[in-house]
Subunit: 203 residues, 2 copies
Amino acid sequence: MRRGRPGYDQQGILDVAVAAFNQYGYDATSMGVLADRLGLSKSAIYHHFASKDEILERALDEALGALEGVLEQTGAVRGRAADRLDLVLRGAVHVLVDKLAYVTLLLRVRGNTEVERRAVARRRAFDKEVTSLVSEAQAEGSLRSDIDASVVSRLTFGMINSIVEWYRPGGKEDADRLADDVIAVALDGLRMPTSNRVQQLLG
Amino acid sequence: MRRGRPGYDQQGILDVAVAAFNQYGYDATSMGVLADRLGLSKSAIYHHFASKDEILERALDEALGALEGVLEQTGAVRGRAADRLDLVLRGAVHVLVDKLAYVTLLLRVRGNTEVERRAVARRRAFDKEVTSLVSEAQAEGSLRSDIDASVVSRLTFGMINSIVEWYRPGGKEDADRLADDVIAVALDGLRMPTSNRVQQLLG
């Protein structure tokens, strides 16, 4: 490592690589481009990662591992499925805000390589678990059951994932506030309990 | 035009070009690639469009024009802002389903060229009008006002736009059903009116 250059550990290299992949696209970002950005030689990067593919794999694993962690934590909680779903949605918003660049990269993956296909498979498994949780909440009578559970799961995560398009750290909404907003829209809806709504609820 | 080849009008060329842009990316799709796909000579394409940029402009205009049309139609409707917002969200779902490939292309535009920047500006103007409608509905007391209007607008359209990621024509949900689902989630919420919710509404 050149004198006077900041040192990078694996995580530091990963952060810079993910930013570059998001900016230029994975294919367009060569190891040479990464080395330039880091002020390192290519061999210094190869000291930490065997290939560009391994960098991508580690980056996607960071986003996926965090999302899967939310499901694991929530699975251990007792109580109604609707309350566990509430926790999963909140947890996912926090993962998005905490790992914004990593989740952005994950959401752009289309399954063009073996590493990407494995990531897509893990995302699908995650979606499937969320859909199961929605079904369970519908069956226990705590969520409306007139919408297909997989459509509910897709629309809800569509809303959550869209946060990567516009959220910037340090803005007026922090992760807790944003999670409250997502829950408010998805679970309780935007409409005020006007008289006709209350009548409908009581009818 | 070569004998035995199907004829293409402007719209037909546009449909094929949009599919190619979505598959390979706009930059990676040359006029030569388009000519191959169409079974036309490049000069036959130039008979309809002055440049690849003009094809992109027309394609983005098709998506944006349809979305702007929803706002125009809705603006002419009397009644509460919340009901007009309901119509805008339903209309936007229909535009997505009807012009899936065109909206997919629009959502990927990042503002790298003059044509893209104009499209981004029109999208922002659309978002701003939706945000105004949300503010109006909050002011009239028909939508909850504890969430910032621009966040409401972003989350709601995040949900709607995510439909391009998974919707395939001919699936089990048609556009009307999908629009009902979006309205159900965004305006009324997923949570069933369990006792505590009814108490809260009456409290």
